[in-house]
């Protein structure tokens, strides 16, 4: 099982799409590792730098509604994975992106807007980090000397995929 948690990258906008996460011109790469330099290359947000320290150090992304909309490209979760990001927290996800995350043994966690507002209040904290317990369904937000705990739900199937490390081994064993 992968580990979840660490420094947080805040992306404060809804509808962040897969073309922004990894532009189509890089879909000609055959290995996941080759995608690494192109993470979030086409995302334009005030204060956001795809090559910045915050992006490089991030282990968790926090965003808003409909994260990962657009293309079915699993290159989007992969570019996160090879950059050490194994969890995305958002108000909601596009279906294909969410399933791709769990199929890779990673976590796409939905929280209500009010919880996200509290988490986003740490966006200015240089030490903002999160610890995530998938089995317990809890996450703890740390930053600016404060700590707050949130609970979340993921479906039993998605939890099984995270624990199994992904869908291929699970399916080959069960079907």
């Amino acid at each position: 099982m992968k580990t979840f948690g660490g420094p947080v990258l805040f992306l404060d906008r809804g509808d962040i799409n897969t073309d922004e996460i990894i532009p189509a011109k890089y879909l000609t790469e055959i290995t996941k590792e080759d995608l690494k330099p192109y993470i979030l290359e086409d995302l334009k947000l005030p204060g956001f730098d795809p090559k910045g320290e915050r992006t490089i150090n991030a282990r968790v992304i926090v965003s808003r509604a409909n994260f990962g909309c657009g293309s079915s490209r699993e290159h989007a979760p992969w570019v996160f994975e090879v950059n050490g990001i194994t969890a995305v927290i958002a108000e909601s996800f596009a279906r294909i992106f969410r399933q791709n995350m769990f199929n890779c043994g990673m976590a796409a966690i939905e929280l209500p807007k009010a919880d996200l507002d509290l988490i986003f209040s740490h966006a200015g904290d240089s030490d903002a980090s999160m610890s995530i317990d998938i089995e317990a369904g809890t996450l703890i937000m740390n930053g600016g000397g404060k700590q707050k705990s949130f609970s979340f739900e993921i479906s039993p199937f998605d939890k099984a995929l995270v624990l199994a490390g992904g869908w291929v081994d699970y399916a080959d064993k069960n079907y």
Binding site: D15, N17, D19, E20, P23, A24, K25, L27, T28, E29, I30, K32, D42, K44, A65, N66, C69, G70, S71, S72, R73, E74, P77, S92, A94, R95, I96, Q99, N100, N103, C104, S155, P156, F157, A160, G166, W167, V168, A171, D172, N174, Y175
Partner: protein, 427 residues
């Protein structure tokens, strides 16, 4: 309690429900292209599982970058080609026979009412036009589909769209779906099936129904679904005439997939098309739409006609009808990518290609082309394209470029005027 079309298909294909709310379905068609499949193939080889569940149910095509433009894309094509040969996948479409997957596979009769269809491509929802459940999935789901012939889904709820009225002059399926996306938003149908009903849909050709269902994903929808009827049977007849004694018999069989009158819907939305105008996107999200009267005159640099949304013969006919006798405005360039070789050939026979070329269009081979900026037709920073494709995300057609989504008719009128223009004055 009656059932929706998706519920009927789920019930008929259910393998098991490993966890509450998750249904594993048996697949009738696993579609593959050269961008998302090679990594699945590589991974299967690495896991010592280089097998396919049924080579007759797997269809593959090279369409996104073709003919290959460089070593990387040639390698992707080669991985797919070698795999198709190795596993005796007969329905593999290589250079010369290839075209845009969501136009080519239906044209070959591969999609039937009641089918379950997956592909590592978000616009797989197109195939729901045949009364199928067709969903885009990622490479891992594709890999399991190839290996085991199954895929896991949350049972989607269904939104019913009652689309009624006669389409006004200059208004087409593309305008209807852009209007719907504008109304419900880019996540208005997330985890939902969009089931289309009503007199407008009944009157649509299969091509128009595919345009409609193609963009279900732009509202977050899992699949667009139209109800199978005699139009569906007529389209499929060349492929199914050996299976049924008559068209009426085929219709009777396919009607089992029609939603029940007392089916339960998550939501029902009424659309009256009588007052619709040509509809065009203006921002970087497909739900940012304006009517032609609000956006006419917007400057453009390029016109692109093609893609899985609007690269079919019907689309080329409409655009050519408007372009006939006209030239591209001097400030713009035009690109036409017919979606399949059959469409290209028929367009040549009908003289449509002549009309495009005399207007000054560049005509490419069938390919996904400019739509996602992977091969030809890429925009420069700051350039704007009037496009019949399905996505206007920032950078989609090239870094710093901007795309306005519209019907082939609006694109053709815009080509003549060199700015976004109303097609109705040319009809």
């Amino acid at each position: 309690m009656g059932k929706t079309t998706a519920e009927k298909i789920f019930d008929a294909h259910l393998v098991n429900e490993p966890f509450p709310g998750t249904k594993v379905l048996r697949l009738d068609a696993v579609l593959c292209h050269e961008i998302t499949t090679p990594i699945a193939i590589d991974d299967l080889i690495r896991r010592d599982k280089d097998r396919v569940f049924d080579p007759t149910k797997i269809k593959a095509v090279i369409d996104h970058v073709t003919p290959s433009k460089d070593t990387k894309t040639a390698t992707q094509a080669k991985i797919l080609r070698d795999w198709a040969r190795r596993h005796d996948i007969k329905d593999f479409f290589d250079v010369g026979a290839n075209g845009v997957c969501h136009a080519l596979f239906p044209e070959r009769g591969f999609i039937r009412p009641g089918y379950t269809v997956i592909m590592g491509d978000s616009h797989t929802c197109t195939h729901g036009a045949f009364g199928a459940f067709a969903a885009g999935i990622g490479t891992t789901d594709l890999e399991v589909g190839i290996l085991k012939g199954v895929c896991a889904f949350r049972q989607p709820k269904t939104i019913k769209f009652n689309v009624n009225g006669t389409l006004p002059k200059g208004v087409y399926a593309k305008d209807v779906i852009l209007h719907i996306i504008g109304k419900i938003g880019v996540n208005g149908a997330t985890d939902r099936v969009m089931e289309f009903h009503g007199s407008t849909i009944n009157d649509m050709t299969m091509e128009s129904r595919m345009t409609l269902c193609n963009m279900a994903i732009e509202a977050g929808g899992t699949s667009g679904i139209c109800q199978p009827d005699m139009t569906t049977v007529d389209y499929l007849w060349p492929f199914i005439q050996g299976d049924f004694a008559s068209k009426e018999a085929a219709l009777a069989d396919y009607s089992q997939w029609r939603a029940d009158a007392d089916a339960e819907y998550d939501q029902t939305i009424e659309i009256d098309v009588a007052t619709l105008q040509p509809t065009i996107t203006f921002g970087y999200k497909p739900d940012q739409v304006k009517t032609i009267s609000e956006i006419a005159g917007t400057p453009i640099d390029q016109i692109y006609i093609g893609s899985c949304t609007n690269g079919r013969l019907e689309d080329l006919r409409i655009a050519a009808q408007i372009l006939k006798g006209h030239k591209l405005a001097p400030n713009v360039r035009g690109i036409l990518s017919p979606a399949t070789p059959k469409i290209q050939q028929e367009a040549m026979r009908e003289g449509l290609i002549d009309i495009f070329m005399e207007a000054g269009f560049c005509v490419t081979n069938p390919t996904c082309g400019a739509c996602l900026g992977m091969s030809n037709g890429v925009l420069a920073d700051g350039e704007v394209c009037a496009s019949t494709t399905n996505r206007n995300f920032m950078g989609r057609m090239g870094k710093g470029g901007m795309v306005h989504l519209m019907s082939p008719a609006t694109a053709a009128a815009s080509a003549i005027e060199g700015k976004i223009a109303d097609p109705r004055k040319y009809l």
